[in-house]
């Protein structure tokens, strides 16, 4: 009998509020199995980004347990949580994903430059080659040394994917990444994201309020069902 793989994310009895007296999120239990592609949905302002803040360790709950990638975040100091987030998680924002004054190459390379563990998990021997490999994989090889301000929205989102998956993080979180894309590009973006997450063997948490995409995911979670406050 093999020992069961621990879940990528396991939240229990979590209560969080920006102000201690008014909780904005109250989660009895949330489990995201490792390697799964999870679709998290809910209306705007329901606390989706706040939940991601708890999973990534940006926020600390007032109560409860946040077990993420085998680490209990509530027992960790802020610098330790920052390190855990940077080395084990990739993050894709809705828009304005990139550092505006860096080139495509510099943006993609950032996680590996900040975190030794991401460097150790690279496929190519150097950061430079790893960046080139990923950027080629995403069809952006002609844009490598271009400033990111000069890219189209679709191209910027692809650069964001590359930066999120470089150095094979165990968890990739995408916070409404397709909201600025049209329907065709949304599907193409999703195809690419699935492919690279699979290559990196990463769990994917995809947050959106657009339910037309949810069919393509292994699991679907409604924030209203998870959180008593988010309904």
């Amino acid at each position: 009998m093999t020992s069961p793989v621990p879940p990528a994310v396991h939240l229990r009895d979590v209560v969080f509020g920006y102000d201690r007296r008014t909780p904005v999120l109250q989660v009895d239990e949330l489990v995201v199995e490792a390697g799964k592609r999870v679709f998290l949905y809910g209306p705007s302002g329901s606390g989706k980004t706040t939940l991601l803040g708890l999973i990534t360790g940006i926020h600390q709950p007032q109560r409860g347990s946040c077990m993420v990638l085998g680490k209990e975040l509530t027992n960790m100091s802020m610098p330790a949580r920052d390190r855990h987030r940077g080395s084990e998680m990739g993050y894709i924002f809705q828009s304005f994903n990139l550092i505006p004054y860096l080139t495509v190459r510099q943006n993609v390379a950032l996680p590996c430059q900040v975190h030794e563990r991401r460097r150790r998990r690279m496929v190519a021997p150097t950061v430079r080659e790893e960046v080139e490999r990923l950027v080629r994989r995403l069809g952006l090889e002609t844009r490598l040394d271009r400033g990111v301000r000069k890219l189209s929205t679709g191209e910027q989102q692809r650069v964001a994917i590359a930066r999120a998956v470089i150095g094979k993080p165990a968890l990739v979180i995408a916070d409404e990444p397709t909201s600025a894309l049209d329907a065709d590009r949304r599907q193409a973006f999703l195809d690419l994201l699935f492919e690279v997450c699979q290559e990196a063997c990463a769990t994917l948490i995809f947050v959106s309020h657009d339910r037309s995409l949810m069919e393509r995911f292994d699991e679907r979670l409604a924030l209203g069902e998870i959180s008593r406050m988010g309904a």
Binding site: Y18, T49, T50, L52, G53, T56, I58, H59, M78, P79, D82, R83, H84, R85, G86, S87, Y91, F93, Q94, S95, F96, N97, L98, I99, P100, Y101, L102, Q106, L110, P111, Q113, V114, H115, D175, E176
Partner: protein
């Protein structure tokens, strides 16, 4: 190393506002450093003009005017001293050498100084530098003249040239046209007021004024060919420089000269009188430094405004950096480093600009105002200024950094 890189790239992306901020800080540092360097450069220049002279002696009067007219050729002597009094002290057993100086005439704005061989033998500047002849020889004849380096170069005079001296200073209409002088020598460059003077002999000075009565020229000038040294009698001089055989006797001799019964004289120790001069000038120096300091504060506030107004557009950037695992401490460091880099660049540019300016104005200032301005190296005071500018830049960086830190905590990952 990621934070310095990010700070550099971030500043590079904001070249225009960053450049303006650097420029405003550089400008204030330039003012501050220039004031300081000019002050020290002038001090070094003044102090270097005369060395190895223990006493400057003139007619009874203020010590500062005596030093200024005798050594720096600024202002005029109110009274002369008799040649007998000069000779009395020149022969004093405690005296090693003396240099007589007689002034009062000019040529096209340059002073004429009558002196004797002692000037060429004993005059020293900047330590042990002696007067050198770049061309020709010392004046021997009554109507011989030797030109300072600046006089020769500005007036394009050569050896053998005849020059007519004016009576008094500042382009007097009374000219000694009857007896033109011949340029027999040109002095090497000294970067002191010596360069801006014309040197003749004491005999020449007497010959020029032969037949003059109560400041008026004779009706019939005596031609040069009819004047011989034996006809001349040196009556007065303006001042003299003196070196004692032993430094110990300087104070004693100073008192003896100041209490000389035969004639009211003033003897001063040049270094001490220069200190009085710096005392007079220090009020102006303080005022200028205060203005420069105020400009610097404005420059730093411009930087604070630029960094602070950029904060809102940088909220997303900070959210991305946090998602990438950068600690809040590192984000804090990013802002402080940016402000430090701006102020360091401003300080470096300001110091370089100040030295460039000093180098450019050095010669014109010396030529037009006779103020010797020496290029002095970076002093501890300048290093203190630089440290203060970078330090205050870094400190001011804490304000937007703190705000960014607070924003990062509130915004979390909410980058949209």
């Amino acid at each position: 190393m990621i934070i310095p890189r990010l700070a550099y790239e971030s500043l590079r992306s904001r070249k225009f506002t960053g450049g303006l901020t650097v420029f405003s800080i550089a400008f204030s540092v330039l003012l501050l450093v220039s004031v300081d360097r000019i002050r020290q450069g002038t001090q070094v220049g003044f102090e270097g003009t005369l060395s190895q002279t223990d006493l400057v002696v003139g007619a009874r009067g203020g010590s500062l005017p005596l030093l200024l007219y005798a050594v720096f050729h600024i202002g005029v002597a109110n009274n002369d001293i008799s040649y007998e009094a000069y000779q009395h002290f020149a022969r004093h057993p405690a005296v090693l050498w003396t240099i007589p100086l007689s002034m009062g005439d000019s040529h096209r704005g340059f002073r004429v100084v009558a002196t004797d061989d002692n000037f060429y033998e004993h005059y020293r500047y900047r330590g042990n530098h002696a007067i050198q002849l770049a061309a020709g020889a010392r004046p021997e004849g009554i109507f011989d003249a030797v030109l300072g380096d600046t006089v020769a170069s500005e007036l394009h005079y050569r050896l053998g040239q005849k020059i007519v001296l004016s009576h008094g200073l500042g382009g007097s209409f009374l000219k000694h046209t009857a007896n033109p002088y011949t340029v027999v020598g040109i002095l090497a460059h000294t970067a002191t007021p010596v360069d801006r003077a014309i040197y003749i002999t004491l005999w020449g000075d007497e010959a020029m004024h032969l037949g003059w009565e109560h400041g008026a020229p004779p009706l019939q000038p005596i031609p040069a060919s009819q004047i011989h040294k034996s006809d001349l009698h040196i009556g007065t001089i303006s001042a003299f420089l003196l070196r004692t055989k032993s430094r110990m006797s300087t104070l004693f001799l100073e008192r003896e000269i100041n209490t000389y019964k035969a004639e009211p004289l003033t003897a001063i120790i040049p270094a001490l009188t220069l200190q009085d001069l710096w005392g007079v000038l220090s009020a102006a120096d303080i005022a200028l430094s205060l203005v420069s300091g105020a400009v610097l504060v404005v420059g730093l506030l411009v930087m604070l405004t630029a960094l602070y107004t950029a904060l809102n557009e940088r909220r997303r950037e900070i959210a991305v950096l946090r998602a990438l695992g950068l600690r809040t401490r590192q984000i804090f460091a990013l802002f402080v480093l940016e402000s430090s880099l701006i102020s360091a660049a401003g300080a470096a540019l300001g110091v370089a600009g100040a030295y460039g300016l000093l180098f450019a104005v050095r010669v014109p200032v010396e030529n037009h105002y006779g103020i010797p301005l020496v290029m002095v190296s970076v002093s501890s005071r300048i290093l203190y200024y630089i440290a203060a500018v970078i330090g205050s830049g870094a400190l001011l960086g804490f304000i937007p950094a703190f705000r960014a830190y607070r924003n990062a905590l509130v915004d979390g990952l909410n980058a949209g």
